[in-house]
């Protein structure tokens, strides 16, 4: 396995496994997921809804809902295992060193509090700033994320802002304490396409400016294509492929990734050609370990070897991993 040297990895996730206790069964939402995020890197995690990407991010932040539990693995931030920290220490770290932004900026901002109140909370809490200083800092950041008339906006309530503005506020809020890592969980899904592009551009700029590491979680391959350095593809709670973004798009090595790409609308497609989609549904995750490849029921290339056992994650070139037993040359 090719791994970045220890010193470069800011976040290292090893064999992370997260389970949810349901009414009748336990759902393994994240299944032995390993990856790392280097300093200043933007890593994308792609997958359908239910593939475990959000559960992964919440596990890292230790913000799982009560029925969720990390049952195995470790999450290291600059060498320290976050899963072993006492809750009080973890709390000091949230928002200070690791910040997070969420999918729906409509519901992720508190409707009962002024934007300013919510923005400065972290700075007052983690940096010990006075409210006035924190407000100055917040206004400067709002300005930086290109919110016009930033000072006045501090007195607005979230419902008075547009969706794009709210997501900018979320970003400013996340960056207020200069975190090292930003986890962006579907940051553009709820936004219009033009606003999506602006937000992604903003994230890229901020990353360059501040040497920020970003873990970008999305279901949209198009989003990672333009912004990420490396991409992790998840299916059924597991990693199925990991590759540098350019290589992944040039040559996907897992049938699932290939299928995902074919389902993207393309500019060079023949007019009137139907949009391809992946047949079938993702498998259930509450039935214990897989006895065959988890993607086999939906795979175009499925053959006998896929049905024998669940394939392991194997190296497939420099910096590339995949979970598939199909010979490389057959994938095309």
């Amino acid at each position: 396995m090719t791994r970045a040297p220890e010193s470069e990895a800011l976040l290292r996730v090893v064999e992370l496994t997260t389970e949810f206790l349901g009414d009748d069964a336990t759902v393994r939402a994240v299944d032995h997921v390993s990856f790392d995020v280097k300093k200043g890197e933007m890593l994308g995690i792609v997958g359908e809804s239910g593939s475990g990407k959000s559960a992964t991010s919440l596990s890292i932040m230790r913000l799982l809902p009560p029925q969720g539990r990390v049952t195995h693995g470790s999450v290291e931030l600059a060498g320290a295992n976050l899963l072993a920290l006492p809750e009080a220490r973890m709390r000091e770290l949230r928002g200070r060193r690791v910040a997070m932004i969420f999918q729906d900026p409509m519901t992720a901002l508190n409707p009962y509090l002024r934007v300013g109140e919510q923005l400065i909370e972290g700075a007052v809490l983690h940096l010990g700033m006075s409210r006035a200083d924190a407000q100055t800092r917040a206004a400067a950041l709002l300005d930086r994320v290109r919110i016009p008339d930033a000072r006045a906006r501090l007195r607005s309530y979230p419902h008075e802002l547009s969706g794009g503005m709210r997501q900018r506020v979320m970003i400013a809020m996340a960056l207020l304490c200069d975190p090292e890592l930003l986890i962006a969980d579907e940051p553009t899904t709820a936004l219009d396409v033009t606003v999506q592009a602006q937000i992604l551009e903003l994230l890229s700029e901020l990353r360059r400016e501040r040497g920020l590491s970003i873990l970008l979680i999305t279901h949209d391959l198009g989003v990672v294509a333009t912004t990420c350095d490396r991409v992790l593809v998840m299916y059924a709670g597991r990693v199925v492929e990991l590759a540098p973004a350019a290589e992944l798009f040039a040559r996907p090595l897992h049938p699932y990734t290939a299928a995902l790409m074919q389902s993207l609308p393309r500019l060079d497609a023949k007019p009137g050609a139907p949009l391809e989609s992946i047949a079938g549904m993702p498998p259930r995750l509450d039935q214990g370990p897989f006895r065959e490849c988890s993607f086999a029921p939906r795979c175009r290339f499925v053959h006998d070897a896929c049905r024998v056992a669940d394939p392991p994650l194997t190296e497939a070139g420099p910096e590339r991993l995949r979970r598939c037993v199909l010979p490389l040359e057959k994938l095309s």
Binding site: R94, F102, A108, L109, E121, G122, Y157, E160
Partner: protein, 373 residues
Amino acid sequence: MSAVEVGAIAAGVGMLAGVAWLPPKATRVIGSIFGGALVFGVARGGLGVTGGVVAGALLAVLLARFGPNTVLRRVTFLLPSLLLLVFVTTLLMYHAPGSPFAGEKVATPQVEAALRAHFGIPKSAVEFFWIYVRRLVVDGSLGPSVKVQGRMVETLLRPALPVSIALGLLSLVLAAAFGLALGIRAGLKPNSAADYVATGLSAIGLSLPSFVIGAILIVIFSLKLGWLPVAGWGDLRHLVLPAVTLALPYAAYIARLARGGTIEVMSQDFIRTARAKGVPEAAVVLRHALKGAILPVVSYLGPAAAGIMTGSFVVETLFGIPGMGQWFVRGAINRDYSMVLGTALVYASLVTAFNLVVDLAYAWLDPRVRSDA
């Protein structure tokens, strides 16, 4: 019911609806005028006509200048509502068998006619309504009581009003305090021991009539322990048991609402955002969740106030408290029309005044409502 009566009710409801369709500007103007008129009516009793005019004009100006739209809408709605209330109540009383003079030794029809003329209670409900409203508007009087002869209704109600208000307010405060404390605690940890205790207590509170709870409290605290007086009115100690009795069912319901509200808010995305910022759990609850959690409780406080008024009929009887409920029940049984109408008007005004406060509180708590209005 006669055609005139049906027509009058239809006109009354139509008036209410008409008020609802007024454009915002007209609502502002009419609401201010109505508000001023109402304040004039109330203030005239204490300050005289000149004082009343000054107070009414002052409030009208204040309302027009600063009143939020929700408040003005409610005030605009109030005057037609009160008229409709008086009319409907009059009809109900006139269609009930018996009359204010049935029990008296009315020797001849001539004597009865003289009495009816004296008290302003003609045989037709519509005529009575006009006499009553004219007296209310022109003299600012609730009319003479038939049963307590020689006294006006307002003179009789004046000492009872503060008693009822004190009892009602204290009960409401107790209900809100207990209910919120219990409900929020339960909602923060659903299915915990604290939750089961709270939901259990609230289920019991909702399943026993308040006078049973009151009787049990009397047996324990007055008869067995001798800590508090059994009944009567005088100092604060007389207020404790009735207020607790009256408050318990509402505390139980508020606890349920607060529990539900808390569970709902704590599952919202913005709570996760606050946690992701590293906000300590206590601040998550107090700063981020509390407002949203108590909103359903706040909107219930209006109906709760009306309910507590109702409960006070029973509790005042049980504890022998000289409040307005007693006057109403006695007035209804004796067919003392002016007394019934007087208490109805005062109750309805109290409930409305309270609803105004609730509206303001709601708007203050939820900025989205504020900008909608």
